[in-house]
């Protein structure tokens, strides 16, 4: 199986689907830029031409409505944002049009659009270039929201998103772009709505989203040294959420911690804890816990930014607390290399 970077896996997904499906096209602000959106679009314009590789003006709201309409008529647009922080400019088209259209007209038109937003965490991107938006986007019935965390899932979820008949918000963390992994060839698909058990365990269920998945896996490795077996679930899709996998795990372990790369209030972590509490209260031996961002924007300075984002060590500490274990060993920390400059 070929080994490639996360960013190359995204590009691979585009080539595979655009070659197989003439209705797929790319659109976005700055997609013809020589930097090719973090090297995820190299060669597409040359192969598919300007009708299938559409550079847009700096008018994200219009581009969203434009792409939406093309989708209702059977095309499959992939709308690309260099920063997901530009999604709020387009909320009307996403929320009042994309998410409602199929329902509002009694299921006469489908909306097979992918809106791909890249999260810019790191390198001092500051408050307006680091938001995740994932909790907000997962609030609306009619949308699907996916957050891949490794190269294979990036390709498989991108292809599934493009071939899905509903609007999909594809939340892509730049944090993963340089990570490599084995990626299946061809039109490889990862089902939307299905979580992945990243690490099996029996003492505690650790549900993680986005960059917190890598932190959770590191935490689980550390915890084995304390004799604790943690099951890490990479949610992958946050609308619809695979509650079945989460509930099965909690019924086995009796403990739940949810680590999300987003703010806590009205977010995905709250939704998961609420669902488990309402549907498997008797299985819980302890109150569940959410690990989320502090309730303020992210700072720019790299002198303080590392203390903003919860890391593996924070997860380890919380897991040990939940399991009534001494936290003396909670010192392990593996830093992810800092990429840049961007």
């Amino acid at each position: 199986m070929p080994v490639m970077k996360f960013s190359e896996a995204i590009r691979d997904a585009y080539f595979e689907t655009m070659r197989a499906h003439p209705e797929v096209f790319m659109i976005g602000v700055g997609i013809i830029d020589p930097k090719a959106v973090f090297n995820t679009l190299n060669g597409l314009r040359e192969e598919f031409g300007d009708m299938r590789f559409v550079e847009g003006p700096l008018a994200e709201q219009m581009l969203t409505g434009f792409s939406f309409a093309a989708a209702t008529l059977g095309l499959r647009p992939v709308l690309i944002h260099h920063r997901i922080d530009f999604l709020p400019l387009t909320m009307d088209q996403i929320v009042s049009h994309c998410s409602k259209w199929t329902y509002m007209f009694g299921n006469q038109q489908k909306v097979p659009i992918v809106i791909r937003g890249i999260v810019g965490r790191g390198w001092g991107n500051g408050p307006q270039h680091t938001q995740s938006m994932q909790g907000t986007m997962s609030h609306f019935p009619g949308l699907k929201v996916v957050v891949p965390t490794n190269a294979a899932d990036a390709k498989g979820l991108m292809i599934s998103s493009i071939l899905d008949n509903d609007p999909v918000i594809f939340v892509e963390h730049r944090w993963f772009h340089e990570d490599t992994g084995e990626v299946p060839e061809g039109l490889y698909r990862v089902p939307i709505g299905k979580a992945r058990i990243a690490t099996s365990g029996k003492d505690l269920t650790l549900v993680a989203i986005g960059p917190m998945v890598q932190e959770a896996i590191l935490a689980a490795e550390t915890l084995t040294k304390s004799g604790k077996s943690v099951e890490v679930i990479d949610l992958r899709t946050i609308r619809p959420i695979d509650y079945e996998t989460v509930l099965d795990s909690v019924k086995k372990t009796g403990h739940l911690i949810v680590a999300d790369s987003d703010w806590g209030q009205c977010g995905v972590a709250s939704a998961v804890i609420s669902h488990v509490t309402q549907n498997a209260f008797e299985a819980l031996k302890k109150a569940p816990c959410a690990i989320t961002w502090p309730e303020h924007p992210a700072p720019a300075s790299y002198g303080i930014e590392p203390t903003y984002y919860p890391m593996a060590k924070n997860i380890v500490t919380q897991c040990l607390k939940t399991l009534d274990h001494s936290t003396d060993h909670a010192t392990h920390q593996t830093e992810k290399p800092v990429y840049g400059p961007f």
Partner: protein
């Protein structure tokens, strides 16, 4: 432009039919059988009637919440429209949309949006899809003067202009956004001049003259089909009834009965078209429209409500 007699008759028939059906809706709205925000088209009929005669069935119209007139002019099914207003499962949107969300894809009438200017980019994307598939069809996007204040208006015209997308932007300038006059909302720069500034071929016509509207739209459609790109047409007109509902709004104080009467009796778009057809033709159209409306209402009353909160074929958990 010399307009063939058959087209003149079609424009008149379409305008009178819309007027008759909207009057019919107004006359029974108080019965509370239709519980949906109903934005009537009364006073603006010549625009949809004239414009749609310049389009083919497969050309698409992207309209907005005041859409009964456009739906009917494009050939939308009357029974399904009335059933939708009655909230019935047989409605054009199966009872999930209501008056502001009509659709008839077979007639080339796409789903309408209740968000002001929300569908202008849809029209550009729809027309792009025709370009993408290399068909000769065009799209007509209609909206009011208020919509031109939204950022989407300029964003959409700019992109259509840049890529020579086959779309006709048609602004129905009735001067009012709900109850606020245009002078309180826009600087005194004509809307069509602003469109021109974005590189879109623009003109202004008397929207209460159905034949003038037809001629302007026909020319724009021909150009778009030839690949010459978008046009913008501003149609001046007047809304005779309240923003939403079947009554006059003069009690609110934004305008007087004398002003409304002036338009109603001296500049009625349907009456202005009447001189081009015979009295017999008028009588025939009127009789048929009344009969069709009565039958549609009778049927809508009998039809069932939807039986599920979720449209057929969709998963329960969206």
């Amino acid at each position: 432009m010399e307009i063939p007699k058959s087209i003149v008759e079609n424009i008149y028939e379409s305008a009178l039919r819309i007027r008759t059906i909207e009057d019919g809706i107004s006359s029974i709205y108080h019965l509370r059988e239709m519980r949906t925000p109903t934005h009537l088209y009364t006073g603006q009929e010549a625009i949809a009637a004239g414009a749609c005669q310049a389009l083919e069935t497969k050309d698409l119209v992207y309209s907005y919440y005041r859409s009964h007139g456009w739906y009917l002019a494009k050939g939308g099914n009357l029974n399904r429209m009335m059933a939708e207003l009655f909230g019935k499962a047989t409605g054009c949107s199966k009872g999930f949309g209501g008056s502001m969300h009509l659709i008839d894809l077979e007639a080339g009438f796409t789903g309408t949006s209740a968000i002001v200017a929300g569908a202008i980019p849809h029209a550009v994307g729809g027309a792009f899809t025709f370009q993408y598939r290399k068909t000769q069809n065009v799209v007509l996007s209609c909206f009011g003067d208020g919509a031109t204040e939204e950022g989407l208006f300029q964003e959409s015209l700019m992109f259509a202009s840049l890529r020579k997308i086959p779309v006709i932007f048609l602004c129905e300038n009735n001067g009012l956004a709900t109850n606020t006059w245009i002078k309180d909302r826009q600087p005194n720069v004509p809307i069509y001049k602003r469109a021109e500034g974005l590189g879109v071929r623009s003109e202004i016509v008397d929207g209460n003259d159905g034949l003038a509207v037809y001629a302007a739209v026909k020319k724009a459609v021909d150009l778009a089909r030839e690949g010459a790109g978008p046009s913008f047409i501003e149609c001046t007109t007047y809304r005779l009834l309240e923003h939403c509902g079947p009554n006059r709004d003069t009690a609110l104080g934004a305008r007087t009965d004398a002003e409304v009467d002036e338009w109603k009796f001296n500049n009625d778009p349907v009456k202005r078209l009447e001189k081009h057809v015979s009295p017999e033709f008028k009588a025939r159209v009127l009789e048929k429209a009344k009969k069709d409306f009565d039958m549609a209402v009778e049927q809508a009353r009998k039809d069932p409500f939807p039986t599920s909160l979720i449209p057929e074929g969709l998963p329960c958990q969206l």
